[in-house]
C-alpha cells in the first residue's frame, strides 16, 4: 500500500514538474533561451484560474481558457521585454532579466491578489477513489494523462508539421531560416507564449491539490529546471520522463527512507545522473559548428 500510494503521488507530482519543464524545453528548442520565471507563470495560471472561477464565478472551462490566454500573453511580454533585447545583442542578460521578472510578478500578485494562501476547490479533488487499496483524487490520475498527452502532441508537432519544423530550423541557423521565409521573431515569441501557457496549465491543475498563493511557484520552478536539465532539455520525451522519475524518486525516498533524506537523496541522484549522462536522459550533445 505504501508502494502504490507513493507511486500515484510521485507520478502526479512528477508530471507537474514535467509540464513546467516542457516550457523550458519549448523555448530552448526554438531559441536556445529559457524563461527562468516559469515558476511565476505557473503561479499566475493558478491565481488567474482562481480569480475567474472562484472570485468571479465563471464556468471552469471559460476561466481556464481565459487564464491560459493571459498566461500566453505574459509569455509574449517576457520574450519582448526580458529576452529579445538581450538575446539579439548576443548577451546572456536574459538569464538575470527573467529571474528578476519572476520576482516582480510574484510581488505584483502579492499586492493585488492578497497575502493569504487561498483554496481552489475542485470536484476532482474532493472525494478520493479507491485504487489498489489506497485513496487518490481523480485529479491525481488526470494530471499524468494530460502531461503525457501534451508531450506526445509536442513531439508530433515538432517532427511532423511544417510549423514545427520551421520552429526547429530557427535554432539551427537564424539567418538561413529567415532567408527561407520563416518569421524568426514570431517563431521565438510563440514558443515563449506556448511555454508560459504550459506552466499556467500546470498551475491550474495543481491548485486544487495545493493552495493558491503568490510564491507557490518558486520551488516548482527550480525543481522543474533541474528536471529539464536531467531529461536533456532538447528532448520533450526526456523532459517528461525525467519529471516522472524525479517525482517518483521523491515519493519513494520519502516513503522508504524517511522525509529527512528526500531532498538530499533526490538531488544527489540528479547530480550523479548528470555526471553519468552529461546531456541528460534523452538529450543529444549539441554539435557546435564553427
Amino acid at each position: 500500500m505504501l508502494l502504490i500510494s507513493s507511486i500515484v503521488t510521485g507520478l502526479a507530482v512528477g508530471s507537474m514538474y514535467g509540464l513546467i519543464a516542457l516550457g523550458f524545453h519549448v523555448t530552448y528548442a526554438v531559441s536556445n533561451t529559457v524563461n527562468f520565471s516559469q515558476g511565476s507563470s505557473m503561479m499566475l495560471g493558478a491565481v488567474l484560474g482562481y480569480t475567474f472561477a472562484v472570485r468571479l464565478g465563471w464556468p471552469v472551462p471559460a476561466a481556464a481558457a481565459m487564464s491560459l490566454l493571459l498566461c500566453a500573453l505574459l509569455g509574449l511580454v517576457v520574450e519582448r521585454t526580458l529576452v529579445r533585447p538581450f538575446a539579439e545583442r548576443g548577451s546572456n542578460g536574459w538569464l538575470m532579466a527573467t529571474v528578476a521578472g519572476g520576482i516582480v510578478l510574484d510581488n505584483i500578485v502579492l499586492f493585488t491578489f492578497g497575502k493569504e494562501p487561498r483554496a481552489f476547490p475542485s470536484f476532482l479533488a474532493q472525494k478520493p477513489i479507491e485504487l489498489f487499496g489506497t485513496g487518490v483524487f481523480p485529479l491525481q490520475l488526470i494530471i499524468p494523462v494530460v502531461g503525457i498527452g501534451i508531450t506526445i502532441a509536442l513531439q508530433m508537432a515538432f517532427q511532423r508539421t511544417r510549423l514545427g519544423k520551421a520552429l526547429l530550423a530557427v535554432v539551427q541557423n537564424k539567418d538561413a531560416a529567415r532567408l527561407m521565409g520563416i518569421n524568426v521573431r514570431l517563431a521565438i515569441a510563440s514558443s515563449f507564449a506556448l511555454s508560459t501557457a504550459l506552466a499556467g496549465l500546470a498551475g491550474m491543475l495543481i491548485a486544487p491539490l495545493f493552495s493558491v498563493h503568490s510564491d507557490m511557484g518558486t520551488l516548482f520552478g527550480i525543481k522543474a529546471f533541474a528536471v529539464a536539465i536531467l531529461g536533456g532539455i532538447s528532448s520533450a520525451w526526456g523532459v517528461m520522463l525525467a519529471g516522472l522519475l524525479y517525482g517518483l524518486i521523491e515519493a519513494l525516498v520519502t516513503a522508504f527512507a524517511g522525509s529527512t533524506y528526500t531532498q538530499i537523496i533526490a538531488f544527489t541522484i540528479v547530480i550523479l545522473a548528470l555526471a553519468a549522462m552529461p546531456n541528460g536522459l534523452l538529450g543529444r550533445a549539441a554539435a557546435k559548428k564553427v
Binding site: M1, L2, S5, S6, T9, A12, V13, M16, N107, L110, K115, E116, P117, R118, A119, P121, Q126, P128, T134, G135, V136, F137, I206, L209, F210, S211, H213, S214, D215, M216, T218, L219, F220, A251, T254, A255, G258, S259, T260, T262, Q263
Partner: protein, 397 residues
C-alpha cells in the same frame, strides 16, 4: 596648472571640513523633546506569512496609539519603523542592523518566523538592543545562553507548548503512541526536541518523526509511515498552508486520527484551505477574541475595528495571537523604557526585570521577567482552540 590643482584641493578640503562641522553640529545638538522615540519591527510583511506581519503591526499600533494618547514615553511619542524580512533569516539580520544603526531604534520587535528570530538574537545581544519576540516560539530565541541576554518574549515557548500538547493528547485522546509530522526547518527542529523531552518525561514511546516541506503537495508517504508505525495521535507543527496539506492528505488516506497541533493553523484561512476536516485539528493559542471577552479585550477589539475598517467580523482577526501578543509586548516594552528613564539598551534590559504589575490583554502580568526567565507567558496561559467556518473557537475542555 599646479596652482589650479592645489586651489581645487583646498576647496575640497574646505568643503569636507564644513560638512563635517555641520554634521557634528547636528549630532551634538540636544535631542528635542518632540523627537519621536523609534521602535523597530522585523517581521514577514510579504510572502505566505504576510498576514502575521499585518496582525503584529495592528497589535503594536493599537498599543502605541494608547501610549501616545497619554503623552508617550519619556515625554516622546513612539514611532514604529517596520521592515519586511520576507521570512528570510539573512534579510531579517540586515533589516535589524539597519534599524539599530541607521534608524537608531531603542528596541526591536520580532515576527512569526523562528529561523529569522534566531538569526537576529546574536546581533541584538552584541549591540545591546532589547529584542522583544511577539510570535516566534522557538525555545532558543530567549534561552540563548548569552550572559547578558537582551531577548524577551510575550508569546508561546516551544518547550512549554510541547509539554502542553503531550498533556492534551493524553487527557483528551488517551494517547499511547503519538507520531509527529513537523515542518522541515528550525521551528520543526525546536519542537522535535521539545516533544521528545516532553514524551520522555511521561515515559511515552512515539510512533515516529516525519518531516515535510512548505511546498510539498502530498504528505501521504510521510503519514503512511506514521500510520504503519501505529500512531494513535498526531502532533503537527507547521504554518497554515503546509498544515492544510497534512489534513488534505489524511482525508485522502481516509485515516481518522486526532491531530493536536502547534498554532500554525491560526496564521490564515485554515478552514478554507483544509476544508471541513479542519475542525478535527485542535491547536494551541495564547489568546482568542471569541467567547466571553474581558473589558480590556472589548476595548482593544473596538479600537481595532475603528482603526482598521476592513475588520468586520471576528473571522477578520484570526491571527489573534499576533495582535494580542504584540499589544501586550508593546505596553511592557514602554513600561520598561519608562522605568529605565532612558533609551539606553542595558538600562532598558534591567528595567524589564523591574516591571512588577501590568494589566494586559492576555492576562495580568506580575513580575513577567526575571534574569532567569525572559518569557512573560507560561503554560498556564495556553488554551486549545479549533476552526469553525473561518473563526477560531476555544475548546471548552
Amino acid at each position: 596648472m599646479p596652482v589650479r590643482a592645489s586651489l581645487l584641493r583646498m576647496t575640497r578640503h574646505l568643503l569636507v571640513a564644513a560638512l563635517a562641522a555641520l554634521s557634528a553640529a547636528t549630532f551634538a545638538s540636544p535631542v528635542l523633546a518632540q523627537e519621536p522615540l523609534k521602535l523597530g519591527l522585523v517581521a514577514a510583511m510579504s510572502g505566505q506569512s504576510a498576514k502575521s506581519g499585518e496582525a503584529i503591526v495592528r497589535g503594536l499600533s493599537i498599543a502605541i496609539d494608547e501610549i501616545n494618547a497619554t503623552g508617550g514615553v519619556l515625554g516622546r511619542k513612539i514611532q514604529l519603523v517596520v521592515r519586511d524580512d520576507e521570512s528570510n533569516p539573512a534579510k531579517g539580520v540586515v533589516a535589524a542592523r539597519e534599524l539599530v544603526q541607521r534608524e537608531r531604534v531603542a528596541a526591536l520587535f520580532g515576527g512569526l518566523d523562528t529561523p529569522v528570530s534566531i538569526a537576529i538574537v546574536p546581533f541584538a545581544n552584541q549591540s545591546k538592543v532589547p529584542f522583544m519576540g511577539v510570535w516566534a516560539a522557538g525555545t532558543p530565541i530567549t534561552r540563548n545562553g548569552a550572559t547578558e541576554n537582551y531577548v524577551f518574549r510575550v508569546s508561546a515557548v516551544d518547550t512549554l507548548v510541547d509539554q502542553a500538547l503531550v498533556a492534551y493528547a493524553i487527557k483528551k485522546y488517551a494517547a499511547k503512541k503519538p507520531g509527529m509530522i513537523l515542518i522541515n526547518n528550525a521551528w520543526g527542529e525546536s519542537n522535535e526536541a521539545g516533544l521528545k523531552t516532553a514524551l520522555a518525561e511521561k515515559n511515552m514511546p512515539f510512533a515516529g518523526i516525519e518531516k515535510f516541506q512548505d511546498a510539498d503537495v502530498d504528505v501521504v508517504p510521510q503519514l503512511t509511515r506514521l500510520k504503519d508505525a501505529g500512531a494513535d495521535v498526531l502532533f503537527m507543527v507547521a504554518n497554515v498552508a503546509p498544515s492544510s496539506q497534512v489534513v488534505k492528505s489524511l482525508d485522502r488516506m481516509g485515516w481518522n486520527v486526532p491531530i493536536v497541533s502547534h498554532w500554525g493553523p491560526a496564521g490564515g484561512r485554515f478552514s478554507e484551505l483544509a476544508g471541513p476536516s479542519s475542525q478535527r485539528v485542535h491547536f494551541i493559542q495564547t489568546f482568542s477574541f471569541s467567547g466571553k471577552l474581558s473589558p480590556k479585550a472589548e476595548t482593544v477589539l473596538a479600537a481595532l475595528k475603528k482603526k482598521y475598517p476592513e475588520i468586520k467580523t471576528l473571522a477578520d482577526v484570526t491571527p489573534a495571537v499576533g495582535i494580542a501578543n504584540a499589544y501586550d509586548a508593546m505596553h511592557l516594552t514602554a513600561l520598561a523604557i519608562a522605568k529605565a528613564g532612558s533609551t539606553d539598551g542595558p538600562k532598558i534590559r534591567r528595567a524589564f526585570y523591574a516591571i512588577d504589575k501590568y494589566e494586559g490583554l492576555i492576562k495580568t502580568y506580575s513580575t513577567p521577567f526575571t534574569p532567569e526567565n525572559h518569557d512573560a507567558l507560561s503554560a498556564d496561559d495556553y488554551l486549545f482552540t479549533y476552526f469553525k467556518e473561518g473563526e477560531i473557537l476555544p475548546l471548552t475542555n
